[in-house]
Symmetry: C2
């Protein structure tokens, strides 16, 4: 059977904030059958992850492309690979059968033809919605879990600040930190998000950074006894203000730097004299370095989900054609929680 | 017996680069005898340490004053305490006898009256010149040793860069790193210093940063395969250029930030996107947190000194009246190695 496979590409490299005009929806015929002897697998994509870091892959050059295996450059005109969940519709690979639900490296499209081994795993959904496996039970969840527990190495009672706290990773860091026994404050970019953090996700407090004019004073108000741990998703001025308000032996886990992603000249300039005298550690990390923690993360998070101690926060768009606007919305602060595109019904 | 005790004070807080006019040499009579029952000790100061971080103590406010026990504010008009070596001339404390050589918290003066316990220890000079115990065998040495081995956690073959490499700490970091089996490049501010690093101290290479216009390119030239460890004594643009040239899992030990010490607006603005994708760790530290490593440090360093594997680098001024100019010279890059004031002959 032949289908028309629609998928999203970039027309050329994207070096500023992404716009609808940077993307193109392509459509090509695809035979849903494989030659005898082929080792390929064809997956019908169901849910795919939409992540801010992909902007670094779309640039003509970024540090990401040189220094990480998973964030190499995206070639204009070609499909944009991403983590996702799908269903096998044809398989020449003995490890996979037609009908298997799988997770792995899919793309912003309706179908993925997978040639190489190791890019795909059978998914045990464990009774959870498939979308969870793209977000809270996928890399966003692992990023939050490993970043908080392995990089920040928290102690009970630590005072924790999370930026972009209603984002895919930030909301989970806050929830993990609360369950662990920390005092947690988040910041986000709207009243609605702030209310959600406090009322639904159990943050001790939260504020809308867009309403604040002096971030140092703001943080002093929310942390009169200082910050022990900062989970940094944004970089820039917020990081500077945090360092100013940090306690001795404070830790900054740098997960993302959205302020730099679309403005190459934007920088965080933390006061290094504070870094010295407060013995602060600023540590960048990638979830991919913590795959050994995946089993532990998954088991813990599934338990919390089953007992209702942790809330999934998903923001799902419909249809492959919504991928560009879903992606663009991340840079405009329009998403609430994990941004996912639902490509098709199971 | 009464003597005239001359000691240096600041006239008022010093908030920029220090000048001769900021200091005053005072002279007051001091009785070299103690009341019966007194627990005090009077020390004749012999060698005292002159350190850049003291500028932070002289300011009207600095992070140092709030966040560390040893770098609290200096009160204008009062003696400036510092680490030094001296000889007991009177003692009401049963732990010390007249004639004992001691090390501890003395001051920029000819005599120190020590009231509190715990500020002084008897010194076993182990056959080394007393001045060594103020520098290479004192806190400068411990800073280099703990900063390099405990904070940087080097591996043999790591490519190490040291700024202010002819300074009190930097020259030792380079020597420790070479002995450990690293590739070491240092930067300094004159041809003479660069020659000394390469010819006397065994650095693999060195350059004069004042002759360079583009530090990123300079570092790329000296480290074509990237930097694994940066021992940062200066902050500012150099730190930015290092982050740009750093390898995956690179480590920055922030020991000092001389660029910020006399210019509160000067900042390092490293590219955080590099910090994330290269998983870089930037860690501030203070030697005082590594007192448990002192015995190990001392034994190792003494061995290296005895076998000639490590060279002491001292820059000694004569007389208490030279303390202000000795201190000021640190901010003008005029010292070569550990700056010490010799107050008196033993």
């Amino acid at each position: 059977m032949d289908v028309i496979n629609r998928y999203v590409t970039i027309k050329s490299h994207v070096d500023g904030a992404p716009q609808e005009s940077d993307f193109e929806l392509k459509a090509t015929p695809l035979a849903l059958s494989l030659d005898p002897g082929s080792n390929e697998v064809i997956v019908k994509n169901l849910y795919v992850s939409i992540d801010p870091y992909q902007i670094n892959r779309m640039k003509s050059y970024s540090s990401s492309q040189k220094n990480s295996d998973f964030a190499v450059g995206i070639i204009p005109g070609e499909a944009i690979d991403t983590y996702g969940v799908g269903k096998v519709v044809a398989s020449g690979n003995p490890e996979f059968d037609k009908g298997d639900i799988v997770a792995g490296l899919l793309n912003w499209g309706e179908y993925t033809v997978i040639k190489a081994s190791g890019m795909l795993n059978k998914l045990n959904h464990m009774g959870f919605p498939l979308s969870y496996h793209v977000g809270i039970l996928g890399f966003s969840g692992l990023t939050a879990y490993a970043g908080f527990f392995e990089v920040c190495k928290p102690k009970k009672g630590d005072k924790v600040f999370v930026s972009a706290a209603s984002g895919s990773v930030g909301n989970l860091v806050g929830q993990f930190a609360k369950l662990f026994g920390c005092y947690v404050v988040g910041c986000a970019g709207s009243k609605e998000k702030v209310a959600l953090l406090k009322e639904k996700l159990g943050f001790d407090d939260a504020f809308n950074y867009r309403e604040e004019t002096d971030l140092k004073s703001t943080l002093k108000r929310y942390f009169p006894n200082g910050i022990d741990i900062y989970f940094d998703n944004v970089g820039g001025e917020m990081q500077e203000a945090v360092i100013d308000n940090m306690n001795i032996n404070g830790k900054v886990a740098v997960c993302g730097v959205i302020s730099e992603y679309t403005d190459n000249e934007k920088r965080a300039a933390p006061r290094m004299i504070d870094v010295v005298y407060k013995r602060i550690k600023i540590q960048g990390f990638l979830a991919g370095d913590y795959l050994n923690n995946f089993a532990d993360f998954l088991s813990t998070t599934c338990d919390h989900l089953r007992t209702g101690k942790i809330q999934p926060l998903e923001d799902i768009s419909d249809g492959v054609e919504s991928a560009p606007s879903a992606f663009i919305s991340l840079f405009r602060g329009q998403n609430i929680g994990k941004k996912i595109v639902k490509i098709a019904e199971e």
